[in-house]
């Protein structure tokens, strides 16, 4: 199966290991992976900050890039950006031709975990892990895409990994895009509520499928000099981590 990889700007610039791990996983699952260097950002920051018009050209860039690729599916290691692309048709309510193209893309856009479980039927992973982990349901993956069991079911394939349920797995991490800098103290307070649940569970790491949430939790944990790590699902599944 030929798939196009959209790594997202955050993975590209801040956490490229997630991109590398995603490629390794998709190849392990038998996919032929394409990566179009013309990709930048999906436009979510503009939409969420009240400037949806600024997202239109960015959306068109993603749409044309996918059309050029001839791939069957666009796969992202992010529930949030997947949800953004799935909402693209709403940006073109007054442009039927573009709306149709956006619709065609949105139906072929998948979050990595969901894609590995439901399309690739993955039943083994290259990675292994020593320790206990908790799963964080990223809000957009959970509530916009309806992903709930995909991440945990993939983690159960990892040798040596012990998965514990977080009693607040579905709670927001407090990131919220520009919310994190518009209302920083509130954002941190929400992160701390999330981290309380992670500490209660006594895990070595919290794992999720969105770099944005994980970056938020990771930088808070680093600030607290905590030993708990925040890791992306792809990194853990692909292995090669210390």
């Amino acid at each position: 199966m030929k798939i196009a990889l959209y790594v997202t700007c955050l993975v590209d610039q801040l956490w490229p290991e997630v991109g590398t791990a995603t490629v390794r996983l998709l190849r392990h699952a038998g996919c032929e992976v394409q990566f179009d260097l013309s990709q930048t950002c999906c436009g979510q920051p503009a939409c969420n900050s009240g400037y949806p018009d600024h997202a239109i050209a960015l959306a068109q860039n993603v749409i044309t890039s996918f059309e050029r690729s001839g791939a069957e599916a666009l796969v992202l290691p992010s529930g949030s950006c997947t949800a953004q692309i799935r909402h693209y048709p709403q940006l073109f309510l007054h442009d039927e031709a573009w709306r149709q193209r956006a619709l065609a893309l949105s139906m072929r856009t998948f979050e990595l975990g969901w894609f590995l479980v439901h399309r690739c039927k993955l039943d083994s992973v290259p990675g292994s892990f020593r320790g206990t982990v908790g799963w964080h349901d990223s809000c957009h993956g959970l509530r916009d895409l309806g992903n709930k069991h995909e991440g945990p079911s993939l983690l159960r394939l990892v040798p040596g990994l012990e998965l514990r349920e977080l009693d607040n797995a579905e709670d927001c991490c407090g990131f919220g895009g520009t919310f994190a800098v518009k209302l920083p103290d509130l954002s941190v307070a929400i992160a701390d509520r999330k981290l309380e649940g992670i500490v209660r569970a006594g895990v070595d790491a919290v794992i999720g499928s969105d770099v944005s949430c994980l970056m938020h939790l990771r930088t808070r944990l680093l600030h607290q000099r905590s030993k708990i790590r925040a890791l992306h699902l792809a990194e853990v599944l692909a292995g090669g981590m210390s």
Binding site: L14, T40, N48, H54, K182, S187, L222
Partner: protein
């Protein structure tokens, strides 16, 4: 004395003050957890909750599309049963109608049952200015009134108060021992309020639903005070938002299942009072005069578009407040508006001046927990995004309500760089250079300085993924 709201333009300052109040945060945390858990328990006992939600939303959507028809039908049927129907375009109009009514009857004392709509129009203050004393008779509302505050929550107005605080407030009001048991504190309130009921000639209430078919309205409550307010005084006036309309009595069935379960986690509230007309008509009991003030106060503007129309489907259950990570941290007062929480962040800017309330749609992480719990499936995140665009970007026919020139330039620059991968690569290379030479300085300037409040700075990777790809392909 009625309390004042914090300035809603200062959401961040209000929120940070609330974050610093550890007593309030502890009370708020346990209350929101408790009500969320009660709601989950009630849903676990109920089969078909999802069907009820769809059914309720369909009824609301239909009624809102034909609202003019049902409002006229309500007026006709209420009038036929002896109820006087008044129309108020604004909150001031509604307050004036109540004051004129009180003056006509020479009434200077009123009892009130809990009503967010009367909070919305600032009725207590208007009555005070007109020399009419109005006593809140819902226990939580009375505590808030005695404390000189505004409600903290739309269903449970005093959840931020600890038991000790409530004891002190009731001690001052009734003389009861501040450390008395909850039962004794409540009994002292009951004694004091019974005297108010007996003395008052005017009862003021809101309504949860109005029924076009019969000209009735329904009030749900747990303390019995609303039933006393609406039956004991000679004159009863209900302030009812026009969106409270339902076509028929039969439509209540699904809402009676949804509202208590979503709000307080009860299968049914203790009292459901379906009030139709005056004593002189079909009923032997009840007031001599019943007045209904149908209030617009900005609601009809929301009918314009489907996205905003759904705001009027709200049945004020408060479930979205309890589920919201922002409300759970800062509570109701920080919003500076009558309606706090996710639903407040979308209806306040539509009821009031959007420019004044422009901070509220941004007081959300867009996590969507509110949409998950809403019994009538209002897509609150969609509304928040719609209002954010109205605030910042405007619309071909409407200018932005609260434009920010600097921020707009930043997003123009962002879009310019992101439109073309060559510009994006150049911009990210420049960012790496800036990080290397001026990183420490940049982290002291916004937006990074604001990120670094409580978090370490995110660092750009040495090599972006697009460079690593060359070796992976």
């Amino acid at each position: 004395m009625s309390g004042d709201h914090l300035p809603m333009e200062q959401f961040e300052r209000n929120a940070n003050a609330a974050l610093a109040d550890q007593t309030q945060r502890a009370a708020l945390h346990s209350a929101t957890q408790l009500f969320s858990q009660r709601r989950r328990n009630a849903l676990a006992r109920a089969e078909g909750f999802e069907d009820w939600r769809n059914q309720a939303r369909a009824i609301k959507d239909h009624t809102l599309l034909y609202l003019d028809h049902y409002l006229a039908e309500f007026e006709r049927n209420a009038t036929a049963r002896g109820t006087v129907v008044h129309w108020a375009e604004s909150g001031e109009d509604a307050a004036r109608i109540v004051i004129e009514l009180a003056n006509k009857h020479g009434i200077d004392r009123a009892v009130k049952s809990k009503s967010m709509t009367t909070e919305e129009i600032g009725l207590n203050k208007a009555l005070e200015r007109a020399g009419i004393g109005a006593v809140e008779t819902d226990l939580g509302e009375w505590i808030i009134q005695l404390a000189g505050e505004v409600p903290f929550h739309i269903v449970v107005p005093a959840i931020h108060k600890t038991r000790a605080q409530v004891g002190a407030i009731l001690h001052d009001a009734t003389g009861v021992d501040a450390n008395a048991s909850a039962a004794d504190l409540t009994a002292s309130a009951r004694m004091a309020l019974r005297a108010e009921f007996a003395a008052a000639n005017l009862g003021i209430s809101g309504a949860n639903f109005a029924i076009a078919e019969t000209g009735s309205f329904l009030i749900l409550e747990n303390e019995g005070n609303a039933r006393l307010c609406t039956t004991l005084p000679r004159v009863h006036v209900a302030i009812v938002g026009i969106e409270k309309m339902l076509p028929a009595v039969a439509d209540l069935a699904v809402f009676l299942r949804l509202l208590p379960r979503s709000g307080t986690g009860q299968d049914l509230t203790t009292y459901q009072s379906l009030l139709t007309g005056t004593k002189s008509s079909a009923n032997r009991d009840g007031p001599d005069e019943v007045h209904v003030v149908l209030l617009d106060n900005g609601r009809s503007h929301m009918l314009d578009q489907a996205v905003t129309r759904q705001s009027l489907a709200c049945i004020r259950c408060g479930a979205c407040l309890n589920a919201c990570p922002v409300y759970q941290q800062v509570g109701g007062h920080a919003y500076g508006s009558v309606y706090p929480g996710p639903i407040g962040a979308v209806i306040t800017p539509q009821l009031q001046d959007l420019a004044k309330a422009s901070k509220l749609p941004f007081a959300s992480t867009l996590c969507g927990a509110c949409r998950d719990v809403c019994p009538v499936k209002i897509d609150i995140p969609e509304l928040l995004l719609h209002l954010r665009a109205e605030v910042k970007q405007g619309h071909p026919t409407r200018p932005a309500a609260a434009p920010n020139r600097l921020e707009r330039m930043v997003f123009s620059a962002f879009a310019f760089c992101m439109r073309d991968a060559r510009r994006y690569v150049l911009a990210t290379r420049l960012a790496r250079l800036a990080d290397r030479y001026f990183g420490a300085l940049l982290r002291r300037l916004p937006p990074l300085s604001r990120w670094c409040r409580g978090r370490t700075a995110p660092r750009l990777a040495r090599r972006p993924f697009r460079d690593l790809w060359q070796e992976l392909r």
